[in-house]
């Protein structure tokens, strides 16, 4: 058997992705934001906790492009630092949701029948629940740690993944190459690992990219309410919360809300572009008109 495939679907997809200008722009923005967030120590001359009370509440200037906060910390530094937390929560919680969703969908789709019926009914049931309210109670009552945040947000977001994976698995189960593998007695775990999972990679990658912004929004929602990351740590949500709390007609400190908010929105936009681009690349039939 030759390992070379004539038209590798991954290369085709990547080729389509590379020709999508919006998606490439999104990817570029995403890379810039990520690199800046990770390398903030080298970009900014200020430490994230470095206070300078003499320069508190300053409007944006050449020294402080995003201005300074109530205790004179550089907001540019804090915003990039906050991005680190927001992106981290987004990626890790999405990973958690993918692990749950893929497992669930795989088991349901592969087994079919009553198991499938029961498992997917359960997913249908959960779809109608306002989970975020339970997450609020969870973090309010069981302690506010990053790990709990990862798990809780991940555990809320796996439903869509499981539906997609289940449908794909069901389809793959009837494919000739899977039937062939079963007929020569390949053990089920091997079939799943070798033949099913690799074919799920594309759709899962697309859902994952679109889950990240959702999770980031939910983290920001919790942090905005004071239930997410705790000071001195900051995320885009908690920075926006400080900005919103400082709004007053006399001296509104507009830069507290505008800069973290703008960077957050820009990142969400970029993620959506990349997600849409990946979807179009992997499934050319659904290309938007």
């Amino acid at each position: 058997m030759s390992r070379e495939r004539p038209r590798d679907p991954w290369r085709l997809a990547l080729g389509r992705f590379a020709h999508n200008r919006a998606a490439m722009a999104g990817l570029f923005v995403l890379i810039v934001v990520t690199v800046a967030a990770l390398g903030v120590e080298w970009i900014s001359p200020y430490g994230v906790a470095e206070q300078d009370l003499a320069r508190a509440r300053q409007a944006p200037s050449w020294d402080h492009p995003f201005g300074t906060d109530a205790v004179g910390r550089d907001l540019f530094t804090r915003t990039l630092h906050g991005g680190r937390i927001s992106l981290l929560v987004g990626v890790v919680a999405t990973f958690v949701s993918i692990v749950i969703g893929v497992t669930w969908g795989l088991v349901a789709g592969w087994n079919g029948g009553r198991v499938d019926e029961l498992m997917m009914r359960f997913v249908d049931l959960l779809y109608g629940l306002p989970f975020l309210f339970f997450v609020v109670l969870l973090v309010a009552w069981f302690g506010q740690s990053l790990v709990l945040l990862f798990v809780a947000l991940g555990a809320v977001q796996w439903l869509t993944t499981s539906r997609i994976v289940r449908a794909e698995t069901q389809r793959l189960r009837g494919e000739e190459f899977v039937i062939a593998a079963r007929s020569i007695g390949v053990p089920t775990p091997m079939i799943l690992l070798r033949h099913v999972l690799p074919n799920l990679l594309g759709p899962v990658l697309v859902v994952a990219t679109l889950t990240v912004p959702t999770v980031m929004l939910e983290e920001a929602f919790l942090s905005f309410l004071g239930l997410g990351v705790q000071p001195p740590m900051a995320s885009w949500g908690s920075l926006a919360s400080e900005g919103a709390a400082a709004l007053n007609p006399v001296d509104s400190m507009w830069w507290w809300i505008v800069f973290p908010g703008a960077l957050f929105s820009l990142t969400l936009l970029a993620l959506n572009f990349v997600g849409d681009g990946l979807r179009d690349a992997f499934d050319p039939k659904t290309v938007r008109k």
Binding site: L129, W141, I257, N272
Partner: protein, 304 residues
């Protein structure tokens, strides 16, 4: 239709039951109690308090009492607002939240649908690009950023609207726009996609071939089916409006259910927090049901 309705209503019962049980376990398993304060209570006082709220009984008996109360529409006494029942507190906050949520949904639909339909009718011309662009940006600006920015512009910048508070219609505008904007953007995208899809269908071509006026084709034949994705999205939209209202009420300092809920969560006012979650859940399940029935009316093929 009746069979479908009965099946759907029957389906919500186990869901509601599950919510009640999970909520109750949440309440009781959470570490720390409502009477943990900085200064420790005298043990006797504490015991009396716990007896007063039935916390000294076995867990199952407590669940029984709680469910029994729920069946009579009683959500129990608040742990923190002494002398108030959860029902009374919710009755205070709910009208504010409902007004806000309903206005937001109305704005989302009234802005989103026309925007999407116009975009589809001007497919790939500048009207389309403008509408899609607005919708795309709208999706990505979270409400807790949009709200303060709107306040900066319209309240502090131009002085057009009042700062906060609740009571007059002018005070509803900003919170409702903040809450509805993201949904409007999303609905616009759905409406555009739905419309584009329908305009290519055979029956639309037939309608045009019959020589019907274009407005007739759009409004009588196309719109009905094109709105199906929007109607199906109503459930999630309502969910996100309910969640978003918590944030918006905080930004604009509104005395709604969301503020009570967050305070209850932070203060471990178990009965009030659970009462709010139950109300949110019931509302969502009920509204989801209505949205599904609406979709069913528009296109009978959607009923399973």
């Amino acid at each position: 239709m009746t069979g479908y309705l009965v099946r759907r209503i029957a389906g919500t019962i186990p869901l509601l039951l599950a919510i009640v049980v999970v909520s109750f376990l949440f309440m009781r398993l959470a570490p720390g109690g409502p009477f943990d304060t900085d200064r420790a209570f005298d043990p006797q006082v504490r015991a009396n308090l716990e007896a007063r709220y039935g916390l000294d009984e076995p867990l199952l008996a407590q669940l029984g009492t709680y469910v029994g109360g729920l069946l009579q529409g009683d959500l129990g006494p608040s742990f923190k607002y002494v002398g108030w029942s959860v029902n009374e507190i919710i009755a205070q906050g709910a009208p504010v939240s409902l007004t806000l949520g309903a206005s937001a949904l109305l704005i989302a639909l009234m802005v989103g649908i026309p925007l999407g339909v116009i975009a589809a009718l001007y497919h790939n011309r500048w009207g389309d690009h403008l509408a899609t662009g607005i919708a795309l940006v709208g999706v990505c600006v979270p409400n807790f950023v949009l709200g303060p920015v709107l306040v900066l512009i319209f309240v502090f910048g131009m002085g057009l609207l009042p700062v906060g508070g609740w009571g007059s219609p002018a005070q509803v505008i900003l919170p409702a726009v903040t809450l509805g904007a993201v949904r409007a953007a999303y609905i616009a995208r759905l409406a555009r996609a739905g419309m584009l899809d329908v305009l290519q269908q055979d029956y639309v071509r037939t309608a045009r071939a019959k020589g019907l006026r274009e407005s007739m084709v759009i409004f009588r034949h196309a719109l009905r089916i094109a709105m199906l994705p929007v109607v199906q999205y109503l459930g999630p939209a309502i969910a996100s409006i309910l969640v978003g209202s918590v944030v918006v009420e905080r930004i604009f300092d509104l005395p709604g259910l969301g503020s009570f809920f967050i305070n209850a969560a932070l203060n471990r006012d178990y009965t009030l927090a659970m009462g709010s979650v139950l109300l949110y859940s019931t509302l969502l399940i009920f509204l989801n049901l209505i949205a599904d029935l609406l979709a069913h009316r528009l296109d009978p093929r959607t009923a399973r």
